[in-house]
Every structure is written in structure tokens, then in C-alpha cells.
């Protein structure tokens, strides 16, 4: 009897301890296996990473364990896994901007300054700036995705617009023409907030001088009047009824009634978006083929704005390395940057590669136009909310939504960003 009791107690304790122990770190790192986290969970993108990992294994004998994590979950999972770098992934998609900075400060990202290959240094010089903090490199970029306005050529023609607008006042008169022709001018995914935020980011990039913009993003100093001016420009668009009806409850990318869906189905004439737009629109057209009359033009200049002409804003996606990862992980990110891989990447994701020598492989007309716009501008700014970091970026996006729903003024956006500093 007694023996049984003791045995049962031991078993119970073992079970409980076993339960609590799960989730602790895996055993010592294996030099010939690396774990790799990315966010392409479907389609050609997912296939690309699998093929590339196989090629890397063939070349070096290092096995790559891939985990594809849904984009919206990515940040949360990465943050949790990196609490203990020894159990985190060896190579992971960098979050960019202030979030990457936070990870660097927490010692969760490897300094790659002396480890990147010459290919990365020479061919990716421009994109590399997005991963450089205090003159040190913390990631290898794979793609640059500047934004701009995507439009339906047919609808523009219907409204009698012959040339795409190059200034803000031209844009406004085109909006009026579209409205008069019974066409919704701009599709806006207000429910997700960031697409609404983008209008404000671009307008401030045009309104603010390079110095004032840098001061705002880097030092969180929004005292320059250009920040309020940008919000007033946005208010003008709102007042002239430029956005689709019910834009506050429109999502960005989900289904035919989303903003991308409205553009894809010719229910609205334009949308301000990143380079990923053709891919998203393709899935939302009635027959799931590329939208034939999709066009692109750069964000117009604002009359009297102090911003650099043709300045671009966008995302640079890249990969960082865990500070405790083996040498193979560094080889892997350098391997990503090689010309062949970059060309295949650009094809698989229908995007622009970070490597300049691979850019010639882009055949899509719209993407070619963006590449041309890139050669006209010195630098590409990161999306403003990314650059400002989650805290202030979140407040900025909320402020823009408030303005668009008629519950805030231009000055409130700036105030919301200042208030946010108290929370983080």
C-alpha cells in the first residue's frame, strides 16, 4: 500500500514537473543546423525559401530548418522566442526601424558590420542604410518596397484624365473629375489605420524640409509647422470627399470590399500603397489574374512644400542574425544577397530586389517605373510609423483615424504623438 502511494506521488510530481519544464531551451546549438524564420506562408514566396534553403544545404552541407510564420503573428512570436537568444531562431526577418533598434539594445541582434560579404557592401549600399544603426550593420536586405499611388488607367480615361498628376493641386482637380464622373476617387482601408496613416506620412514628407522631417522622426520633435500643415492637407482631401464611401470600415487587403479589392474591381480609381500592391490586387480581381490596366505614379509634390523633390518612402525587408548563432547563419544571409538568389527572390515575390545588379531582371512595367523613381531620389525613408516605433507610430495612426472620422483636428495628431511618449 505504502509503496503504491509513494509511486503515485512520484508519478504525479514527475508529470507536473514535466509540464512546467516544457518550453525551456533546447539543448546545445548544433553547428550544422540553423533555424530560419520568415513570413511567407503561401505561394511562390514560400517555395522560394524552401528552394533556396535546399541550394544552401547542397552547397555547404548546413541544414536549414524553416519556420514560416503568418505576418501578423510574427512580431509577437519573435519577441517571445528571443527572450532567451539561445532558444531563438538563428536567422529571422528583421522588424525594421525602431523595433530593430530595441532588439539591438536588448542584445538580441548580431553586429554584422565586419561579416557581410563584398556583394552586400557594394550591390546593396542604398538598401543597407535601412539596417544601419550608429554606423553598424545589423541585417542584410532582400527587397526595397517604396510606395506610391496605384491607379486604374481605364477609370482615369473614363473621367477624362489624360496625364497622371504630378502636383497636389493636380491630384485634387483629378479627384474632382473622378467624382463628377461618378467614380470613387481614392480607396482607403481606414479600418486597418496604417493605410490612412500613409497619406499623412507622404504629405509630411512633402511638406517638411529634410531637417524638420529628420528631427521629427529621430528626436520626436514635431514643433515645426509643417507637421500640422500636412494634416491640414489631409483634411482638405477629406472635405472634398476624396475617399470611398464607408472607408472607416474598409479593410486594406481582405476580400472584394477591401480597398485593394475596390481598385481590383474598378470600384475606385486609386490607392496609395507599397510595392506589394500588384500582387495583392491580382488575388482580388474577379478571375484572379493580374489587373490589366493597373498603373503607378509617384506621390505628387505639394505646392510650396519644403520636402526634397521626389523623395521616397517605403519598407526595406531584410534578415538579422541571432548573436548566439553559428557562422553558418552569417553565411546564409550572405548567400541570400548573391545575384541569382536576388533575381529569383524578385520574381517569386513580384518585387524589387535590394541588390542593384539584380534589378535588371525586373520585367514588370510598373516596377520598372518605381526603379526609375528610385534612381531619381537619394534616399528612401522608412515608413514613418516603422521609423517612429510601435508606440508613437500607433498613436500617429490613431490620430489620423480620429481626424478622418471627424473627431480630431490637425493639431490633435501632433498632440497624440507627444502623449504617447508617456506610455512607453
Amino acid at each position: 500500500m505504502k509503496f503504491k502511494t509513494i509511486a503515485a506521488a512520484t508519478l504525479a510530481m514527475a508529470t507536473v514537473v514535466g509540464m512546467c519544464a516544457c518550453g525551456s531551451s533546447n539543448s546545445a546549438k548544433d553547428e550544422n543546423t540553423i533555424t530560419f524564420w520568415h513570413n511567407a506562408t503561401a505561394g511562390t514566396g514560400k517555395q522560394y525559401w524552401e528552394d533556396m534553403a535546399a541550394a544552401f544545404e547542397k552547397k555547404t552541407g548546413v541544414k536549414v530548418e524553416i519556420q514560416a510564420i503568418q505576418n501578423e503573428d510574427f512580431e509577437g512570436k519573435l519577441t517571445t522566442a528571443m527572450q532567451d537568444p539561445s532558444s531563438g531562431p538563428d536567422v529571422y526577418m528583421a522588424l525594421g526601424g525602431a523595433k530593430t533598434k530595441d532588439m539591438i539594445d536588448a542584445g538580441q541582434t548580431m553586429d554584422l558590420t565586419d561579416k557581410i560579404s563584398d556583394t552586400v557592401k557594394n550591390q546593396m549600399a542604398s538598401a543597407l542604410k535601412s539596417f544601419t544603426y550608429d554606423d553598424k550593420v545589423y541585417g542584410v536586405p532582400v527587397t526595397v518596397q517604396p510606395g506610391g499611388i496605384w491607379y486604374s488607367k481605364d477609370l482615369f480615361e473614363q473621367a477624362g484624365i489624360d496625364e497622371v498628376p504630378t502636383t497636389f493641386s493636380e491630384l485634387k482637380s483629378d479627384i474632382k473629375k473622378l467624382r463628377d464622373a461618378g467614380i470613387e476617387p481614392i480607396a482607403l482601408g481606414g479600418k486597418d489605420a496604417w493605410p490612412a496613416g500613409h497619406w499623412y506620412y507622404w504629405l509630411s514628407l512633402r511638406e517638411c524640409s529634410t531637417d524638420a522631417y529628420a528631427k521629427g522622426v529621430n528626436e520626436k520633435d514635431f514643433s515645426d509647422s509643417c507637421w500640422t500643415k500636412a494634416a491640414e492637407d489631409l483634411q482638405e482631401l477629406l472635405d472634398m470627399d476624396a475617399f470611398n464611401e464607408g472607408f472607416l470600415t474598409t479593410t486594406a487587403q481582405q476580400g472584394a470590399s477591401s480597398s485593394a479589392g475596390l481598385l481590383a474591381n474598378h470600384k475606385a480609381a486609386m490607392e496609395l500603397m507599397g510595392t506589394w500592391e500588384p500582387g495583392v490586387v491580382k488575388d482580388l480581381t474577379p478571375d484572379k489574374t493580374a489587373m490589366a490596366d493597373l498603373g503607378f505614379f509617384a506621390f505628387p509634390d505639394v505646392d510650396g512644400g519644403k520636402g526634397e523633390k521626389g523623395a521616397l518612402m517605403g519598407a526595406a525587408t531584410g534578415f538579422s542574425v541571432n548573436p548566439e548563432a553559428p557562422q553558418a547563419a552569417v553565411d546564409f544571409v550572405n548567400f541570400m544577397a548573391e545575384k541569382d538568389n536576388q533575381e529569383e527572390y524578385a520574381t517569386a515575390f513580384s518585387t524589387i530586389p535590394a541588390s542593384e545588379e539584380a534589378m535588371d531582371s525586373v520585367t514588370d512595367d510598373n516596377l520598372k517605373q518605381i526603379i526609375e523613381a528610385m534612381s531619381n531620389s537619394d534616399d528612401m525613408q522608412l515608413w514613418m510609423d516603422t521609423a517612429l516605433g510601435g508606440n508613437i507610430g500607433n498613436a500617429l495612426n490613431s490620430g489620423v483615424v480620429n481626424l478622418l472620422s471627424g473627431q480630431g483636428t490637425a493639431a490633435d495628431i501632433v498632440k497624440a504623438m507627444e502623449d504617447a511618449a508617456a506610455k512607453g
Binding site: 470600415t249 510601435g390 472620422s405 512607453g424
Partner: protein
Amino acid sequence: MATQNNNGATPQARRVKSMSDGKARRNIEIFILSAPAILLFACFVILPIILGAYYGFYQWKGYGSPSQTGKFVGFQNYVTALKDPSFQAAILHTFEVVIGSLVIQAPLAILFALLLNQKFKGRGLIRTLIFVPYVVSEVIVGTGWSLLLQKKGAINEILANFGVDGPDWLADPKIAMFTLLLLISWKYIGFAVILMLAGMQSIPEELYEAARVDGAGFWQMQKSITLPLLAPTLRIWVFLSVIGSLQLFDLVYIVWGKYVSTTAGVSTMATYMVREGRGAGNYGYGSAVALIIFVISLVIALTYQKYVLNRDLDGAVTEQKEAKKRTAKRAKEARRLEAAATASEVK
């Protein structure tokens, strides 16, 4: 002494020993059987609460440990949260939902249950139909309704056929709260009805028969028999409904999103926490908000238990004393009966 004990303990002593043996064994058994549950509870409920309170003292981005990468700010996060007008608005909205769901759902559920308690053709089908929304997952319900209720969604298209210009059901702050209450009622009324129905069926049929003999009408019977005897069920349902409303998150998050819910006036405590905590990457601040929500919910739950539910829950935390009293009374009663029985035997 020891020798004597070993050799020939008196029957009395042996009994004491085996009794204490039994007691120890029972304690071990209790320990073994409850240890896993207690450990799980401690690991996944108590510990997170303590950690949340601890994180709440830091300005912390979630990278590394708060003591290294965060900044200790004392109670500042808690103060900022309580002073934030948009959190105050979220608390107000949550309480509007708590009250609104009770006021709308209780009478409706009782009426439906009364109806479904009668015998008629197709009763089983209607019972199933009314319960279906409750079974469907929140995400599906939310996605469906958010598409239907858009400014240019199906519902407004139908209204347009009748020449009615439908309102913006979701984004207009004047009507968004009513839309939300409508959705909640539609989704959760099935649960309330099933609960009430079960309560009604546990009422003995004889009572109604007796009332009928006395000449009571249908409504009088419901008023004097059904409602009073349904009270315990109603009290439990109110408790579950209040707790559910306090935690309301998924429906609002999916239908409105974390930003528009604020401008439309339907943000809840939980959507605020997600927006300002996880959305903004302020894990310290978010933890402080989480703790405030926990305290609010706990106070409400305990108050309700103490003043309302104590009649139904034997041995609930808040009324251990009364339970003890009742046990003592019961024991006394038993002794009295036993004594009476012995007495009658003697006679």
C-alpha cells in the same frame, strides 16, 4: 513505556494510532490529487498576475527582461492609464455593454424560453436555430457581420431597394453601440434561452397542476410560479453574462478593428489594452492596464458573489462563515434526530 507499547498496546491506544495513520494518509492523498491542479493554477493564473503587476511598474518594450532593458517608473503607468480619456471611455463602453446585454437579453430570453417550453410543432427546430449563433465562432460571426453592415454592404443594399438610405451602422458613433448590442444579443441569446429552459424544466409539474385546480390563468402561473423558481437560474446567468461582457474583445476587435472602435464609441477595456499594449509595443503599460482590468473584474465578481449568489453557492469564498454555521446546524439537527430515535427505541 516504549516496550510496553510495542508488546501490548491497549485497544484504545491502537485505535488512536491507526486513526492518526489514516489521517496522514488522507492528507497525502489530498496532496497528490490536488497538487497537479494547484500547480497548473499557480503556473498559469497566479504567476501571470504577479508578473503582470511587476511588468506594470516598468516602461518596457518587451525585449529582454524589464530590469535590464526597461525603466522603473513606479505607479506611473497605472496613473497614466486611469487618467487617459480613451481608457475611461473604454471602461464606460464596457459597462454600457454589461447593462445593455442584461436589459435586452433577460426579458427576451425568458419570453423565448416560455414559448419554447410549450408543446408545438417544430419546437425542436426552433430550439436548435436559436442556439446556432452561440455555437458559431466569434471570428466567423464578426467577419460576416462586418461585411454585411458596411456602408455599402448587403444590408444597406437591401434597404436601398426599398428606397431607404441606410446609415453607417458601424462607423457612426451615434448608432455603433446599438449595433454592437444587437450583435451581442443575437449571438448570446441562445445560451440564455437554453439556460432558462433548463431552469423551467426543473420546476415540478405538480405546482402548475395545483395552480390550475385553484383557477390560475397562464400569466398568473408564470408570475407566481415560474419567475420565483427561475430566480437561481437567472442569478447564475446574470453572473455569466456580466463576466462575459467585461471580457468582451473578439467581436469588437474583428468587426471594428482596434482603431475605429475608439472613434465609433465601442472600444472595450480589452481592445484598449491590446491597442496600447501589444499594438504600441508598450508591454509594461499594457500589463498595467491588464492588472487594472483584472482588479475591476475581480471586485465585481466578488461583490456579486457575496450579495447575490450566496443563496445558490454553498461554500463560496465570501460566505464560508455562513456555510460553517449551516453545517453546524445540520449536525445538531442530526444529533437531535438520533437522540429522538434512541429515545423512541428505549420506549
